[in-house]
Chain length 322, copies 2
Amino acid sequence: VGIDLFNPLKKELYAVGELINRYLEIEAPEITELNNHTVQKKGKRLRPAISILFGQMSGYDVEKAIMMGTCFELLHTSTLIHDDVIDNAETRRGQQTHNNIWNNCRTVLYGDFVFSSAMRLAVDIGSLLVLDKISTVTRELVSGELLQLSNAFKFPPTREKYYQIIKMKTAVMFGGCCELPVMLSDNCHLSENARKIGEEIGYTFQIIDDCLDYTATDKKLGKPKLIDLKEGKATLPVLLAFENNDSDVIRITKDIFENKDISHEQGEEIVTLLEDGSYIEESFNIARSHVKNALHYLEEFPDCQAKTIFKKICQFIVERDF
Amino acid sequence: VGIDLFNPLKKELYAVGELINRYLEIEAPEITELNNHTVQKKGKRLRPAISILFGQMSGYDVEKAIMMGTCFELLHTSTLIHDDVIDNAETRRGQQTHNNIWNNCRTVLYGDFVFSSAMRLAVDIGSLLVLDKISTVTRELVSGELLQLSNAFKFPPTREKYYQIIKMKTAVMFGGCCELPVMLSDNCHLSENARKIGEEIGYTFQIIDDCLDYTATDKKLGKPKLIDLKEGKATLPVLLAFENNDSDVIRITKDIFENKDISHEQGEEIVTLLEDGSYIEESFNIARSHVKNALHYLEEFPDCQAKTIFKKICQFIVERDF
């Protein structure tokens, strides 16, 4: 399982890249230099891939599904750009962040530029119903990011708040990626199912992402490890330890939140505690249960090549180590 | 001439306030506290007032015109929120900025929240044509802000770049405020005229705003004076001095741009130079010439109370000292 699984979508994902170029394009070299960096450090393009697959599964127009997926990718990119400013991140995906090359001020405005380019693209899809969904998803996404930041370092953290935040900041957008192409297809009766599939996959994606902060090596992730606790974010493994009244994890987390910093020793200790208490394993199990829910809802969709690829993507999301 | 001139629009502007509340509303106290501050430190609401007046002049549905104006007001507000982060501003309109009360990180995300709330409202206007215009205006606005920042401290500054930037960051949105209600009215043949009126008023507004940075007293403006040069922005009075080869102004501007700071003495000297060289007076004349253009295009509109009020607003824009 790896990036190879996107190979069957090579042509469509190339079109995504072309669309991104077209919608970011502007006759101003002062902005083009930032665009070039954005395009160069592209991610997995998981969101557009998912929209394309659900377009194919439901018999929807491929070009429109590509536009929808590209819109979500641009929205996602704009939040990453602002996230990196907020986290003062120096690298992402193994490359320098915008704020590291330019500065925070220009990067904040450039994030707004990418955001407004996404809305420009959203309008060109030409459907008020689509715009209604995209603008709602966008507001949820942004609100989720804001809630996450507002709740940083709050003690004790709760699973309820964690789920509220990951739903808003991640699951809702994955839901939109799946729902939108289906909603406008001849199989629109499956759109509610599609949304649920996307949300479940979104939970999975975020929970795995959060687990990788404890287990991944720096190089593969392209960003430093153990950054969540340092930023005051208690993710699922830590929350499971809290629910289990694990006094060591509670004590260290409290220390980290109070000092707003994490020592090398604290880092090693918490990873050991989370592994020994099986909290990371249990989190992976919970992530897998969300995939299982997704696959249940997926049964309603007709068997086809796109469905097979999507199943492999689900597998990739839980098994990835980067 | 003063704020009194908005009195005939009291009912409509109250509805604008209600709409702002409704679209910012969210079930999350972590965000509501920032919303409360936004609503409390409201501005003149010039943009909604203009949309409402052009709705009235063209016989368009008042409720829809209110929605359009409110959307522009929210977009404008979101850029002010990010601007204040970028400028590290402590006060605006005589009150604390969001970034001064909370912090830069939360304020950046909160600006995104207001932005996404504006898009949510834009969709509810229910017209793809309107969304096409609003998303284009938004992208221009953001690009203008980004261009302005990218060109800060560039020497020598030019009037061409200045006009490009104020068109994008200010004039285009004023154009949209006037154009949109007319575009969907029975008098849609006047929409191109309306857009031109808005753009001319936008130039006026920005040029006056830039002059006030040299002439206004701190208290009335609610923000410190002489901030533009310090931020590397050479506005019209300085540009006129450059075009006149005024060696003193050129020398001081160069010094300020090189040091990225302005001393009290430099501030006093440049104000004196700009006044003695009649560059500020000439800038006011240019601002007035843009109003004249606007009033010329306005002739096509039928005489009515709204037109009379709009003329007074034009007068207010050039005569305001805050």
